[in-house]
C-alpha cells in the first residue's frame, strides 16, 4: 500500500508538451479542450463558423470586383469627408477603425478586471465598450445615409461605376454592423449581470471572457473589411 502511494506521488508524469499534448488531448477519450470552459470552446466554434460566413462575403466581393469590366468606384474618394472645406480621404472610416480598436482595448481590460473580481471596473469598462460600439453603429448609419441619399447608391446599382459596388458594400458592412449591434446588446446584458453580482456565488467570471471573445471577433472582422474593402 505504501509502495503504491509512493510510486503515485513520484511517478506523476509531467503533462506532455508541444504536438504531443495535442495528440494526448484529442486521443484521451475524455473532453478534448481541457481546462477550457465549455462556453468558451463553443464560442470559439461559433466564431469559426462566422469566420467562414464573412470569408464567403469577402471572397464573393473579390470575385465581383475582379470580374467586372466597368470601373470600380474609388473608395478613397467615395468615403471622403470635407472637414474645413478640404476633402480628407476615408477619414470617417479611419475614425470608426480607431473607435473599434479602442473598444477592443477596453474589453480586454474588462476581462482582466473580471478575473480580479473588480465588479465596478468590469461593469464600467464593459459599458464603455458597448458605448464605443453604439457610436460605431451610429457612424455607420450616417455613412449609409450619405451614400443612399446623397450619392444614390443602391444594392442593384450606383451612379459611381460598377453596380456590384452597392451590393457588396451593403451586404458586407450591413452584416458587420448587425454583429456590432448584437454585441452591444450582449455586452450590456452581461455588464448589468456583473453589476448586480449575478456571478458572485460561483465566483466564475468566464462569461466576461466569452463575451469578450465575441467582441474581439467583431473587431477582427473589421480589420479585414477595412483593409480589403476600403483600402484596396
Amino acid at each position: 500500500m505504501t509502495a503504491t502511494t509512493s510510486t503515485d506521488t513520484t511517478d506523476i508524469a509531467p503533462p506532455p508538451e508541444g504536438l504531443r499534448s495535442l495528440a494526448a488531448d484529442w486521443s484521451s477519450d475524455q473532453e478534448v479542450f481541457k481546462q477550457v470552459h465549455w462556453g468558451k470552446a463553443m464560442m470559439w466554434i461559433f466564431l469559426l463558423s462566422d469566420t467562414f460566413v464573412f470569408s464567403c462575403f469577402l471572397t464573393s466581393y473579390m470575385t465581383m470586383r475582379a470580374s467586372t469590366t466597368v470601373p470600380w468606384p474609388n473608395p478613397s474618394e467615395v468615403f471622403a469627408l470635407s472637414i474645413g472645406g478640404r476633402p480628407i480621404p476615408l477619414i470617417l472610416i479611419a475614425i470608426m477603425t480607431f473607435i473599434l480598436i479602442s473598444s477592443s482595448g477596453t474589453m480586454a481590460m474588462a476581462v482582466n478586471f473580471a478575473y480580479r473580481r473588480d465588479r465596478l471596473k468590469t461593469t464600467l469598462l464593459m459599458l464603455a465598450t458597448a458605448g464605443f460600439g453604439a457610436s460605431f453603429v451610429s457612424m455607420q448609419a450616417f455613412e449609409w445615409t450619405k451614400l443612399i441619399v446623397e450619392e444614390g447608391v443602391r444594392p442593384w446599382g450606383n451612379p459611381l461605376g460598377a453596380p456590384q459596388f452597392g451590393s457588396c458594400f451593403f451586404m458586407i458592412t450591413g452584416f458587420h454592423g448587425l454583429h456590432v449591434s448584437i454585441g452591444v446588446i450582449y455586452l450590456s446584458i452581461i455588464a448589468s449581470k456583473v453589476a448586480r453580482g449575478h456571478y458572485e456565488q460561483k465566483g466564475n467570471y468566464e462569461v466576461v471572457e466569452i463575451a469578450g471573445l465575441y467582441w474581439h471577433f467583431v473587431d477582427l472582422v473589421w480589420v479585414f473589411i477595412f483593409a480589403l474593402f476600403y483600402l484596396w
Binding site: D8, T9, T63, L90, S104, G105, A108, L213, H216, L220
Partner: protein
C-alpha cells in the same frame, strides 16, 4: 512584448506542469480545477495596453498608405501585411489564443486555411469571367 509574453506563457506552463503532491486523486483534480478557475487567463494589464498601442500604430500606418496614395505592388503588400499583423495581435493577445492549449489552437486556426482553396478557385473563375465579358460583350479595355 514577446519577452513578456514568453514569461507569462512559461509561468502558466510551469504552473500546469508543477508536480502535485497529491495523497488522493480526487483532491488533486479538485485543486487543479480550482487553480485553473482562479488564475483563468490572468495577465498583466501592461500587455493589453501595449497591444492597444501597437494596433493604433498599425491602423495609422495602413491609413497613411491610402492618404499618401501608395500605388503599385507596394500598396496591396503593405495593406495585407498590416492587416495580418493586426489580426495576429488581436487573436493572440486580446483573444488569449497565445495562452490556450494546442488542442484548441489547432481546432480553431487550421480549418480557415482551407479558405485559401476557395479564394484561389474564385480568383481563377473571376479571371475567366472577366475575359469572357471582355471578348463577347466587347466592353473591355
Amino acid at each position: 512584448m514577446t519577452v513578456e509574453r514568453d514569461n507569462v506563457a512559461q509561468r502558466v506552463t510551469r504552473q500546469a506542469a508543477a508536480p502535485q503532491p497529491a495523497p488522493l486523486h480526487e483532491e488533486a483534480s479538485a485543486r487543479r480545477s480550482k487553480t485553473a478557475h482562479a488564475h483563468g487567463q490572468q495577465h498583466p494589464i501592461g500587455v493589453y495596453l501595449k497591444v492597444w498601442g501597437y494596433l493604433f500604430v498599425l491602423s495609422t500606418m495602413s491609413y497613411l498608405v491610402d492618404y499618401f496614395h501608395v500605388e503599385g505592388v507596394l500598396r496591396p503588400l503593405l495593406i495585407v501585411t498590416f492587416m495580418f499583423l493586426k489580426a495576429g495581435l488581436i487573436v493572440a493577445i486580446f483573444m488569449h489564443m497565445a495562452w490556450e492549449r494546442l488542442a484548441l489552437i489547432y481546432a480553431i486556426l487550421v480549418p480557415p486555411l482551407c479558405l485559401g482553396t476557395l479564394i484561389l478557385l474564385m480568383a481563377i473563375e473571376s479571371d475567366y469571367t472577366f475575359w469572357t465579358r471582355t471578348i463577347f460583350f466587347g466592353s473591355g479595355p
